[in-house]
């Protein structure tokens, strides 16, 4: 039906790519509102029917756009974590407590109004989720961004590094792919938020580009360089020698103070003249006043963050009061005048009017401020500003917050918070939970444009380790933060630190989220490691000035020793920030905290190693620990095929699948994994027979122990040719599952009957013998050592049997193997398997063995090394007068075995 005297109906602008540019009045689905608005746009003359029709059309159009923008979160199947007060019942009494729960409401879910696809919204809101105690503010921020919300601001006050501007930016990023502009208010006149003075470089920034080009080429005139260095330090970077490094031209297009712009204008005029650029792009140089960020964001319908608002110039925000009234919904229009207009011959707009009906859905302003205790430059805001912006103060971080942030830094998502709220389901189905985490992380990686870093992927596969380790780290950081917070020492149980921790130290070394970031940045990369102080190092004096020939570079998976690197770094930081600067008590307390929270070792009261893992152990993860057999099989195949190619250069096949299929290897690993080799004593070694290896990648082996032979038996039941080769045995240790099973199969109690001396009454003495227990692999301390004989072909091609010494820490699944040179392709796999290999003839072999032994016996009494040395002597022929330390014995190739334990091939192929 058409009606007379009606203005043409307005059409809601629908732009699929930029739906947030839609005016809010076109998004409101409330019929009453649209009736009023339809009347307004059609005019007083329009008939009631026309108004109703237009209103109905507008409601329908608004619903359609809203449906595209609305991304629900916190529904029954997409619950979203939320922190808040709840009544909790204890012993019949209810108390109000802060708890972490979820929003899961299908009728009233949380809503994100976003141009992004749902999967991106979900990935960002779950992976970049604010810490639990900030979730209520996050939720409030979402509510204020709804189309029908007239308050388009949110102000947060909190400590530096708490994540305030991050959250403002996050809200914007969730909604749009556009970047969110963050305006630093520090020291600035807040009138500049409305109108600002800028340098106008002309179309295409010709002048700055020309200067950059010359700076890069080193062809700028010396005088120009001197002039450019006069630009404000906020815009110019120099190196330690004062050489000009870069110029931030955009600083003069919206961040600089008017006086800085004026000074820069003069400098640029001079430089363009000196460089002869004033006839080219330089002649377009000018100064203008233009809309400041608040007006620009309003016009463009986008988000912005006003950072450190309460560090702005005192009294400079007086003109903004009506603007805040408009932005918080108190008034519907507001006009502001440009005080810069015509100043110093500049051009620009004379005024701007904010109108509610012009506001677009994407417009929002987040303001952040620091607590007033944070330094002199932070000021208390006017009462009117408090009243209009109603700042929300961030709570101090809780342990759950520390843990959340640690997880985000380590793996790119808050695994601990997600586990905490979905615990029952995660425990019931850890695999599915892990896959869900990985899906979200990969979705976020797609937004980042790169794959998930391997370290994060490995850690996420072992998400339980991440939860355990982050919990201990959070407790430690929380304690550290308490100990370095001078203001609260009395209330945090750290009164004893009053003399050592003052305000200045707190400011400099206090722990906040930024410190965690720095610590993880340091721990992730693999760096050269210092040798233990007592290590014997052999320096090459003769050829010192010649560049050294480096050994073949061994690839190291960054996750294998990530935990060690992190804990080493924390250890060092704790020392450097405390003991090294004379803060002895603080050092003692922090060292105790490190122990108490299980960063390095978890030692029980009786000195035994706990079954619970430390942070170091939890974060030293490898694919060898993966519960996924396919992943293990892939890793095993890589080792298997590279080893075969190295040992047998005739194998030219480049496709691993043509050598052995993953499926075949998976079956073999599964079968080996199911064996109880500690009982069967069966070993498995690499089958290198070309004809059969495709079907049977592993061959069976056993140990022939001379200790079990009758005393009068002089000949062995096997020949040299039956002994497993050194390389094949080593390759078996490097294979996932196989290596662990083999290390479980090499222990025996065959020496005990020979070692026990009869008591006076003729019975066998049965005194505890820790060394013998260690030689049999059943010490309560988890330490064990033994020696095996394998076949070795030396450089001259001569074959003989040699000793391979094994020292094992069963509690920590770490081993030291001392033998000959290792095939280079196995080196990486040894690290993955948690085995340190030392070539007894290699450079600094003794020091390397000593370091490995220290690592294996860490946290244990010194006597364990003596016991290990004695255990070694049960199998090896060490002269009674030889009082060398175990490290020296292990690298001594002159020591023979007393009773040899030979690794001998079985006739059959295993699997």
């Amino acid at each position: 039906m058409t009606t007379k005297n009606t203005k043409p109906a307005t059409k809601a602008p629908v732009n699929d790519n930029h739906l947030l540019k839609t005016k809010i009045v076109d998004l409101i689905t409330d019929e009453k509102f649209q009736l009023g608005y339809a009347r307004k746009i059609l005019g007083e003359d329009a008939t009631e029917a026309a108004v109703k029709t237009e209103a109905a059309r507008r409601v329908e159009a608004a619903r359609q756009i809203a449906a595209q923008l609305e991304k629900p979160l916190g529904t029954s199947t997409r619950p979203y974590p939320m922190w808040g007060s709840q009544r909790v019942e204890y012993n019949g009494q209810t108390n109000l407590e802060q708890v972490l729960s979820v929003i899961a409401d299908d009728s009233n879910p949380m809503k994100v109004y976003s141009e992004r696809p749902y999967k991106e919204v979900v990935a960002l809101t779950y992976c970049d989720m604010p810490v639990p105690s900030m979730l209520p503010l996050f939720f409030d921020g979402l509510e204020r961004r709804k189309p029908d919300s007239t308050n388009r601001t949110q102000m947060m006050i909190g400590d530096p590094g708490a994540g305030k501007s991050f959250m403002g930016g996050l809200q914007g990023r969730i909604r749009s792919k556009q970047s969110v502009e963050v305006f630093d208010c520090g020291g600035k006149n807040m009138n500049e938020l409305l109108f600002e003075m800028v340098l106008d470089f002309g179309a295409g920034d010709a002048l700055p580009k020309a200067i950059d080009k010359r700076l890069q080429a080193g062809s700028l005139q010396a005088l120009s360089i001197a002039k450019l260095k006069q630009l404000p330090s906020e815009a110019v970077s120099t190196d330690s020698e004062g050489n000009l490094q870069s110029i931030d031209w955009n600083y003069f297009k919206g961040n600089a103070k008017p006086e800085q712009v004026e000074a820069a204008f003069q400098v640029m005029k001079d430089v363009s003249q000196i460089e002869g650029l004033d006839h080219a792009g330089g002649n377009a140089l000018g100064m203008n006043s233009q809309y400041g960020p608040l007006i620009k964001w309003f016009i463009e319908g986008r988000e912005g963050v006003l950072d450190e608002y309460n560090k702005s110039k005192e009294g400079s925000d007086n003109a903004l009061q009506t603007v805040w009234q408009f932005l918080n919904g108190e008034i519907n229009t507001c006009t502001v005048e440009n005080p810069l207009k015509n100043k110093d011959l500049t051009n620009g707009p004379s005024s701007f009017t904010f109108r509610r009906e012009d506001m677009q859905a994407g417009f929002f302003v987040t303001l952040t401020g620091n607590k007033t205790e944070d330094g002199l430059t932070t000021r208390s805001l006017n009462k009117s500003v408090y009243s209009r912006l109603s700042p929300q103060t961030l709570p101090d971080p809780t342990e759950a917050d520390w843990q959340h942030r640690i997880c985000q830094m380590m793996v790119g998502m808050p695994v601990s918070t997600l586990y905490s709220v979905f615990k029952d389901q995660a425990d019931a189905n850890p695999k599915e939970f892990g896959e869900w985490l990985m899906t979200l992380r990969r979705e976020k990686a797609a937004i980042e444009g790169v794959p998930v870093p391997e370290l994060q992927e490995t850690l996420l596969e072992n998400w339980k380790n991440v939860v355990n380790a982050s919990e201990k780290l959070a407790k430690f950081y929380n304690a550290w933060a308490g100990m370095t917070d001078a203001e609260n020492l009395m209330t945090s149980g750290n009164t004893d630190l009053i003399e050592e921790v003052d305000e200045e130290y707190s400011k400099k070394e206090g722990i906040d989220f930024r410190k965690i970031k720095q610590h993880l940045e340091e721990a992730i990369p693999i760096r050269p490691k210092m040798q233990p102080v007592e290590s014997e190092i052999q320096i090459d004096f003769k050829n010192f000035t010649k560049q050294p020939a480096l050994a073949e570079k061994e690839y190291e998976n960054p996750s294998v020793a990530f935990g060690t690197r992190l804990v080493d770094f924390l250890d060092r930081m704790v020392y450097e920030k405390t003991e090294a600067v004379g803060k002895h008590k603080l050092y003692e307390k922090l060292s105790t905290a490190m122990n108490n929270f299980g960063l390095r070792d978890i030692v029980l009261q009786d000195g035994a190693h706990s079954g619970q893992k430390s942070v170091e152990e939890d974060l030293n993860v490898t694919v060898y620990d993966s519960p996924d057999l396919t992943k293990k099989s892939e890793a095993a195949r890589k080792v298997f095929c590279e080893y075969l190619r190295q040992m047998d250069p005739e194998i030219l096949e480049k496709d691993d699948d043509k050598i052995i299929t993953i499926d075949r290897l998976r079956k073999a690993l599964k079968a080996v994994g199911e064996k109880n080799t500690a009982e069967t004593k069966e070993l498995f070694v690499v089958n290198r027979d070309h004809e059969t290896l495709g079907n049977f990648p592993l061959a069976s082996a056993r140990i022939e122990d001379a200790a079990t032979y009758p005393a009068d038996k002089t000949d062995a039941d096997f020949t040299l040719a039956d002994i497993v080769s050194y390389e094949d045995f080593m390759a078996s240790l490097a294979l996932p599952t196989v290596g662990a099973k083999n290390l479980g199969a090499i222990w025996d109690a065959n020496i005990r009957p020979l070692a026990e001396t009869p008591a006076a009454d003729g019975s066998k003495a049965n005194e505890p013998d820790e060394a013998l227990d260690m030689a049999e692999g059943r010490s309560q301390q988890g330490l064990a050592t033994t020696t095996l004989r394998v076949l070795f072909k030396d450089a001259q091609g001569e074959e003989r049997d040699i000793s391979v010494h094994v020292v094992l820490n069963q509690s920590r699944d770490k081993a030291l193997v001392v033998g000959e040179k290792l095939p280079s392709k196995l080196a990486q796999a040894f690290k993955e398997a948690g085995i340190t290999h030392v070539d007894r003839h290699g450079v600094n072999a003794k020091a390397k063995v000593e370091a490995a032994l220290n690592e294996l016996t860490r946290g244990m009494p010194d006597s364990v090394k003596d016991h290990l040395a004695d255990a070694f002597k049960y199998r090896n022929d060490v002269d009674q007068n030889n009082h060398q330390k175990l490290a020296a014995l292990l690298v001594d190739d002159k020591i023979d075995m007393l009773l040899g334990k030979y690794v001998v091939k079985n006739k059959r192929l295993a699997m």
Binding site: D128, S165, F166, G168, G169, L170, G172, R173, S176, K177, Q178, S179, V180, E181, V182, F183, D184, D205, P208, K209, D212, L215, Q216, S237, D239, Q245, S246, I247, D248, W249, N250, N255, V305, M409, I447, E448, G449, V450, P451, P453, E454, L455, K517, L520, E521, I524, P525, I526, P558, E653, K654, D655, K658
Partner: protein
């Protein structure tokens, strides 16, 4: 695999090389930049060449080009060549005033 076997399409090879180069660079750790962006160092050589030549990567050698790349919603990965006119503090500053998640690779001389 026989030599007559089908070769993978060049696009796939390039993509694989880019992913491998990115993974290698990411293994060496990163600097966490404001608002969730990350900066990875990539050694001069095949890795830096591969990343910089990828059609999905924006190359930024001045602060003007870096800021423009940060503001472009279509750019996810930004490559900063070794001779670029910027310091780490410059990169941090620009990421602070443009809240967006990007992945930055900065070319460094081989250690």
């Amino acid at each position: 695999m026989s030599s007559q076997g089908r070769r993978p399409p060049p696009d796939l090879m390039e993509k694989t090389a880019v992913v491998a180069a990115q993974q290698n660079a990411m293994e060496r750790g990163c600097k966490f930049l404001p608002h969730g962006s990350r900066l990875f160092d990539v050694e001069q050589g095949w890795e830096s060449i591969t990343i910089s030549r990828d059609k999905n990567t924006a190359v930024a050698d001045t602060l003007l080009t870096l800021e423009s790349a940060l503001r472009d919603p279509d750019n996810k990965v930004i490559f900063i060549p070794a001779g670029a006119l910027m310091t780490y503090q410059d990169i941090e500053k620009l990421c602070q005033r443009n809240a967006i998640v990007k992945t930055l690779f900065r070319e460094v001389k081989k250690s």
